[in-house]
């Protein structure tokens, strides 16, 4: 649904995005993670045909972002929740939404029905005829969600949709993302909230001007750290250490108190052998568990490593 090839954007002589190769499948929620200034907004703007790439190209729903005719069609196909949820403060919620529906050329009656349905679904019906100027940040974000859906787009770009929201509104927005995925829409979600990415995304990319990683959140963790097994024994013994460190499946052993943290290759297959070896060496096991790093650790490692270079 979205493919980029060596996509890049420069501002003067500053390169905001460079050599980006991504592929987002139809119907998936794709997390686009990166620290502030990583080029997330710039990338989304290029994909939604708001700014032009200065290098490479991208396709959205088979259409090229750098072809003017295609760009217009892409704008019709995609919805974007921009970083700032800008509205005309002295116009009502309805008038704001109708303005965008009209620009998307949504049939008048269809637009009115959709707006009513969505205001209702988002618990905003009461505010239909109120000026947006008095709305809270959470209400504005709900309205912004409705706005990016008025033309029933196949692809949605969400640029940090929960940033700066109170927890309740943030949760509301996340639930909405889940529902939109269930509708079969493709969602490109920029965030620097890793927890959010882990919960919502089928796959993630980590960027900092360039692509650092692309894959599932699970694979990302494994790629960065391997999977580790933590074994607690009644008593730590030298023979046990020697027995496990001699195994091919064990990449590293680290003692900690009465236990060991083992880096095991392909643990789903090899964990049983490792436990066998410990038992044969005379070790008495109290517990075996998997030590998982949070996505946050991985992220910090990836982004941090690059910063030092």
């Amino acid at each position: 649904m979205i493919e980029t090839q060596a996509l890049g954007r420069r501002f003067g002589n500053y390169t905001a995005v460079e050599g980006l190769d991504l592929s987002v499948k139809a119907g998936e929620v794709f997390g686009f993670l990166g620290p502030n200034g990583a080029g997330k907004t710039t990338t989304v703007r290029m994909l939604a045909c708001l700014i032009r790439p200065t290098a490479g190209t991208a396709r959205v729903d088979g259409l090229r972002v750098d072809d003017p005719g295609d760009a217009r069609r892409i704008r019709r196909t995609v919805g974007i929740l921009t970083e700032r949820s800008g509205f005309y403060d002295n116009l009502t919620a309805y008038k704001n939404l109708r303005f965008y529906a009209d620009l998307y050329r949504v049939d008048r009656r269809k637009a009115d029905a959709r707006i009513d349905d969505m205001l209702d679904a988002f618990g905003m019906s009461r505010w239909k005829a109120s000026a947006v100027g008095g709305f809270s940040k959470g209400m504005r974000q709900k309205l912004a969600l409705i706005r990016c859906l008025v033309h029933d787009p196949k692809v949605l770009f969400f640029d940090e949709p929960t940033a700066g929201l109170d927890p309740e509104s943030a949760r509301y927005v996340r639930d909405a993302i889940v529902r939109l995925k269930q509708d079969g829409r493709t969602i490109f979600l920029c965030t620097h909230n890793l927890d959010e990415a882990e919960r919502l995304c089928d796959r993630v990319a980590i960027v900092n001007r360039r692509l650092l990683y692309e894959g599932t959140p699970e694979r990302l963790r494994d790629a960065a750290y391997g999977r580790r097994i933590i074994v607690r024994l009644e008593r730590m013994m030298g023979q046990v250490h020697n027995a496990v460190s001699g195994l091919d499946a064990v990449a590293a052993v680290e003692e900690s108190g009465d236990g060991m943290i083992l880096e095991v290759r392909d643990p789903d297959r090899n964990c049983a052998d490792v436990v066998d070896a410990i038992v044969r060496a005379g070790g008495r096991i109290r517990s075996v568990g998997e030590l998982r790093h949070s996505l946050e650790d991985v992220y910090m490692k990836l982004v941090g490593d690059r910063c030092e270079h």
């Binding site: 501002f11 708001l50 700014i51 921009t82 800008g86 509205f87 005309y88 965008y100 620009l103 998307y104």
Partner: protein
């Protein structure tokens, strides 16, 4: 031909009407130029204007043969108000245009609008019309009120009525709208770089100087805003407008708006 510009225009007008600052600023022009100033003329020209006073104005009054000195003086003042009716369509659009651009920037509404399939040329046309149309209409209505008021008073009190010179027709129908377009494009370009309504003031100031210059020069008899001069000014404005529309259209592109307008 897309009609998307009508959507933008309607939205802009809707916003303008709800903006007290713009509405009250725009209302002061007609009140000032079609009510206050004519009343000032009518009641300050003394009854004892003489041939000598008129002669002091040089040959500017040669077109008022057959009138008494007082009538000639009033008729001359009424006709010489023409630059104010060029000032109105020049200054009023700066308020609307600069506000609409500054407002979109401040509220962060440019990006969602540009995310829709609308052509930037339609946005520009919609915004231009939203500024030009009400300004020109208010100018015309003001002119009608002005002439009606003057003639009611002159025909009652002095027994004569004033028919506007033919150059008024050209000035109102052509020169005014051309000035309005100039001022909209200038305002859009200036407010692209500036974050608030100061843009409007800067463009207005740049327009007020030459137009008031015309008024003063005319009052002192140094020029006569004859039909030829009004037509020549209009031709120059037309060329200037074409150049500004070209530049404005180049600047008003998605990428430029989002990356350089700050």
């Amino acid at each position: 031909m897309s009609t998307d510009f009508l959507i933008v225009m309607r939205k802009d007008l809707d916003e303008v009407m709800r903006n007290r600052y713009i509405v009250s600023s725009m209302a002061t022009f007609p009140v000032l130029f079609s009510i206050v100033i004519p009343l000032l003329y009518l009641f300050t020209v003394p009854a004892n204007v003489t041939e000598a006073d008129v002669a002091a104005l040089g040959n500017v009054l040669h077109g008022y043969a057959g009138m008494t000195p007082r009538q000639a003086m009033i008729a001359f003042l009424v006709q010489s108000n023409l630059p104010f009716y060029l000032l109105m369509p020049g200054v009023m659009p700066t308020l609307i245009a600069a506000y609409s651009i500054a407002g979109e920037k401040k509220n962060g509404t440019l990006e969602p609008m540009l995310a829709t399939p609308v052509k930037t040329s339609d946005i520009l046309l919609g915004k231009t019309l939203a500024a030009v149309v009400p300004s020109v209409l208010i100018t015309w209505i003001s002119f009608i009120v002005y002439m009606a008021l003057i003639n009611t008073v002159t025909s009652r009190s002095f027994g004569f009525s004033i028919v506007p010179d033919p150059q008024w027709a050209v000035a109102l129908a052509i020169t005014g709208p051309l000035i309005a377009i100039l001022s909209v494009y200038a305002s859009i370009m200036v407010s692209a770089r500036m974050s608030d309504v100061r843009a409007a003031q800067q463009v207005s100031a740049a327009l007020v100087v030459p137009i008031m210059g015309l008024f003063v020069l005319q009052l002192f008899g140094m020029i006569t805003l004859s039909l030829d001069i009004i037509v020549a000014i209009s031709a120059a404005l037309f060329v200037l407008d074409i150049v500004l529309i070209r530049i404005g259209t180049l600047l008003f592109r998605r990428d430029e708006i989002l990356t350089t307008w700050g």
